[in-house]
Symmetry: none
Subunit: 206 residues, 4 copies
DNA sequence: CATGAATGAGCTTTCATTCAT
DNA sequence: AATGAATGAAAGCTCATTCAT
């Protein structure tokens, strides 16, 4: 009995926290973070103002947590798909992974809107890198392994990977949300060709 | 006499306006724009609060003017250097121009900080485009001309140019300011090789 | 216990609200509303600035609430007196009611000052009409009933009533406050005679 | 020559002053005086800010001057018409004069709008009374003369006149501008009947 | 744990008025 | 006499944060 009561309380806390996170996410996708007050968040979440401060330091902490969560989920799902499909070729693997992430962003532009509204590429990017490093799936290690197995060799493979992630991120953001400079479907071929061109620098002559 | 009196007033106004712009620039490089109040700006500029509104609508207008000015100067100077040096080769020209801009950013990282603090690559990019378009030096046009003259052909040359600008901007920003993933001097060769790889896609077989 | 705690808070809120209303009323009787700042009101009420906005939208809302309250009380009390006194004659009833209101205004000229200072005859009048219409005591209906019962008939009885109310309001205001054109006690007979003259127009010849 | 130069300057001053008065009148008919800034007035008048203070103390002074002017013109014109028409009957004379003023207000509701916008019945009324007293045409004196000549006698004739002016002013204001309680054309007969009823109190039995 | 009333610092913006030119 | 740039006090209002209940 005591245990179930406690667990119920804990469960209740989790619900409150999630309500706040969800409410904040919704508001942050509609308005710049400076135009969202803690009042707005607690009203939308249906809790009292003081309750907010029991769970979070301020609205910026809630934003960072949201970004971390989304970035983590994004890569986890892309990774799952990569494992399901038995792609051996090096360039294809990289393109596949990137494409998986892009597909998710296309289908859920709220995440991008959220990032745009909060002008937080910097924060998002930092979290993305953290996600890439810490994930059970170590992207860099795998990148190197597949590269070597396929006869590629890079002096500085992480930098090449970083460069590709940045190129993709900064251009696809505008492409998905504003079709600038091209709609994402038209832009992808050009992007992917450029990525292959970059990767092909590492191809060893046999 | 009348003219000199009037011109003195006009001169004085220019000084006040510049004081405000300079003060705002300094503050914007130190703090996020949301943490800089109009009060801070006028105090730093040594003018009264009301004076600010004689010259600018709000602090966001002052930010946009600053960004436009900086972006314009950046490209103007880079362009001058390109004209001084008689570089004919296509890839070399592109790399030279990018390098000139990067050298200026390396020497004045405040401009980069300013842009970071305002997290406005988007704005910066828009201003850049305006500067590029309106300038006597038309980047896109020249890019195409030199490309053709050197036996390069792109289906979508503006997109390729955009892609290169974004790749450069998003990666060099961290490289210059935080030496991430590498210090700018070490990163440049890798970046330039990747840009050449991207450009080489357009090379026509003769 | 819980109830008493909650009720204490509610009671406290009522006190705060009344403090604000009272403070505003005092200031509005001394100064034109445009010369009374929210700051003045909260200082006088002994609460923080933000508290004001917890209870009212702005100072104009507080003014309207005050006017409504006063207008309502004025007529409620006059009506009570009319019921206590069994006056059957038509002209006497009308004069009695008007006199009751005037007596109250004479004894509490602050209400008149408040109305003057806020130059809000319009608002006051609107509230008065609402009070007349909505009150359990429906003046217009009763006016008609007593008129008919006493052999009076008006083509447009509401207009006659309106005309009398305006005549009374606009002249007694100056009479009570500035004894212009005569002190109220000297003015009343003339006013009442004029009102009777107006009413007598509706007297049917028998 | 010197005289004409001086007179030209004086003329110029008059033009500036009139420009300011006209500009202020236009603005005061569109907006409450608190929402009209000195800046608005000088811009509309086409003069510099400082010039305003060469002619007027503040915007409230300009308002009072405007009200005085309008009130004066109103009665002057009504008076002229009365003289042109040889009306001998007492009640008819009073009604005629009132009707002349009303006709002018109906045809130029800007004056009423101006009064409404500035919520200045009090000020307007004071100026009106001054106009009535000071005018070459002494209303009260004439009122008494015609009354006596026609066999009317009032204990307090000024008070009766005041009462009629107030009744007319406070009700016709709403009637002309808002058709409340009736459009002015429908309201006039009722009003005039009531005025005649009031006046008939003074009729001596012969 | 949860509440929400209360706070007051701090923001943006306006505007009457001055005064050197 | 006329100008208009400069002022800075003061307004309305918001909101993160606290704390008694």
């Amino acid at each position: 009995m005591v245990i179930s009561m406690k667990s119920k309380i804990i469960e209740n806390k989790k619900i409150k926290e999630n309500n706040l996170l969800q409410a904040a996410f919704n508001l942050f996708t509609k308005e710049d973070i400076t135009n969202v007050s803690v009042n707005d968040i607690v009203k939308s979440a249906g809790v009292a103002k003081g309750t907010f401060y029991l769970y979070f330091k301020d609205k910026y902490q809630i934003r960072d947590i949201l970004i971390q969560k989304e970035a983590h989920r994004l890569f986890e799902e892309a990774h799952k798909q990569l494992e399901k499909n038995d792609i051996r070729n090096f360039e294809d693997s990289v393109i596949f992974l990137i494409n998986q992430v892009l597909i998710r962003l296309e289908n859920n532009p709220l995440i991008l809107k959220f990032v745009e509204r909060n002008l937080s590429w910097g924060v998002f990017h930092a979290q993305l890198n953290t996600a890439i490093d810490n994930d059970s799936f170590n992207l860099i290690k795998e990148f190197n392994e597949i590269a070597t197995a396929n006869g590629y060799e890079f002096e500085n493979s992480e930098v090449i990977l970083y460069l590709i992630v940045e190129l993709t991120g900064s251009t696809c953001y505008n492409s998905i949300l504003h079709s600038q400079p091209l709609p994402i479907e038209e832009y992808k071929p050009i992007l992917f060709d450029s990525i292959r061109a970059i990767l092909s620098q590492g191809k060893k002559k046999s």
